[in-house]
Amino acid sequence: MPYMLPTILKNLFTGYATRMYPVQVREPFENARGHVVFLDDKCTMCGVCALRCPSVAITTDKEKNELAFYPLRCIVCEVCVQACPSDAIELIYKWRPSLYDKPVELHKSTRLTHLRESADKAKEGVEKAKD
């Protein structure tokens, strides 16, 4: 038992190891599994992420151009990040803040909107050309 004595004496007189969290925040590590964000301007609503997600945190509806993300279901496994063909999902190293309720993040892909608009324009152009 007394062999603990030097340790506690050292601790007592050399200060504490505590990081005073709210005041003193350490930056997250590289590649820490913080949380994922969706880049609407890159997403093509292809649905690969939704297919690969093990915990059904993502659902996509290409018709409505709607990607629903349930943050509280996400296990930050990074599968979606790796699976996304257009690099539209990014891993952020900082953790996601706590929540009072269970929100759903709804995403509309701006890229798909653009694509659709341009497709529509093209269609229009073709139809005009037909006319």
Partner: protein, 140 residues
Amino acid sequence: MGLIQRSRVKSPWILHFDNSSCNGCDIEILACLTPLYDVERFGMVNMGNPKHADILLITGPVNRRTARVLKNLYEQVPDPKVVVSVGTCASTGGVFHNCYNVLGGVDKVIPVDVYVPGCSVRPEAIIDGVVMALQKLAKL
């Protein structure tokens, strides 16, 4: 804010209950007690007993067997009390959501006040979650 309200915020005693977690979040809760994070700075003490607790920290998805235990424990915590579901699994069932014996998140059984997302949660996130819970507790 009265003396008792103020004391409530300053002295949150925790009951940690593990439903059927992979123990990732449990390790992180225990990490909060280590010298590095030392939640005792905020008066947080990890109690082994629901009768002394103010805050329930619940990890892991609820399964058919732990649902009963969770409900029993919740009823034994004297008011005012808040429930923090720690981690994705506790919040919604996470990756276990369609296991044959898993009911889902903690809120299927008892009302949850604060959800802390993450898999597993970081100790800082747990501290944040408890602080949010305390803000709710102060208004009770």
